[in-house]
Subunit: 129 residues, 2 copies
């Protein structure tokens, strides 16, 4: 009985980058899906809790979601113009975080790492335009 949740996940999978709850809702409605905003929020949360999608916060405080290919721990390289996202691994960063944390006596160390930039196609279209 998770038709709705599956629909939300599918919508997310079809997207290249991170999408907000409101985005997902609008897109689903546009495609004729009969679903409420509340349910989209709940589905997104459940998906995030279950580790099926990754969440991050934009600079203006919106939560954005993405169905990632890898279930393993990874980070994101996000185009700040078009939102195109590449999943990247960073073993060096993992080790660094762990080291710097324990050097200062911290335990149960976690970290957030996101890399932003302008992707190749966006920088060429800027030059062209």
């Amino acid at each position: 009985m998770s038709t709705r949740r599956d629909a939300v996940r599918d919508t997310l999978r079809r997207s290249e980058g991170f999408r907000s709850a409101q985005d997902v809702y609008a897109e689903m409605r546009q495609h004729g899906a009969k679903i409420g905003l509340t349910t989209v929020y709940r589905a997104l949360q459940a998906l995030a809790d279950g580790g099926d999608v990754d969440v991050l916060r934009t600079d203006d405080g919106e939560s954005v979601y993405r169905a990632c290919a890898s279930g393993d721990h990874h980070h994101h390289l996000v185009c700040r113009r078009c939102g195109h996202t590449v999943e990247v691994a960073g073993p060096a960063v993992e080790r660094w975080a762990e080291t710097v944390g324990s050097e200062h006596g911290f335990t149960e160390i976690t970290h957030t790492v996101e890399v932003f930039g302008t992707c190749a196609s966006c920088s060429s279209s800027v030059r062209a335009g």
Copy 2:
């Protein structure tokens, strides 16, 4: 005429970790300062724009501010229990972000890195309590 702004900065300096705008406002009022919430927000923004304070977002979307000792680029090791914060440098991370970005054709690369953990005194008080 930046008495207010200076007062906000001073309040921030007296804090160990990151504080929200509402925190700063409440504390200033408690100490008898005559200042409005709007002004605290404005001062915090100006300070952040000028690079005098660092900003980050909590998991629940609140913006929190900190007057950092170093004006240079650095990251934070934050205790998730008491908020105690240590400024850390990560040259390896800087290089990694730059490398991973250009490998994928991205330019104008920036990054956000935060490390969370439980600090020594918090983990010992948990064991004791």
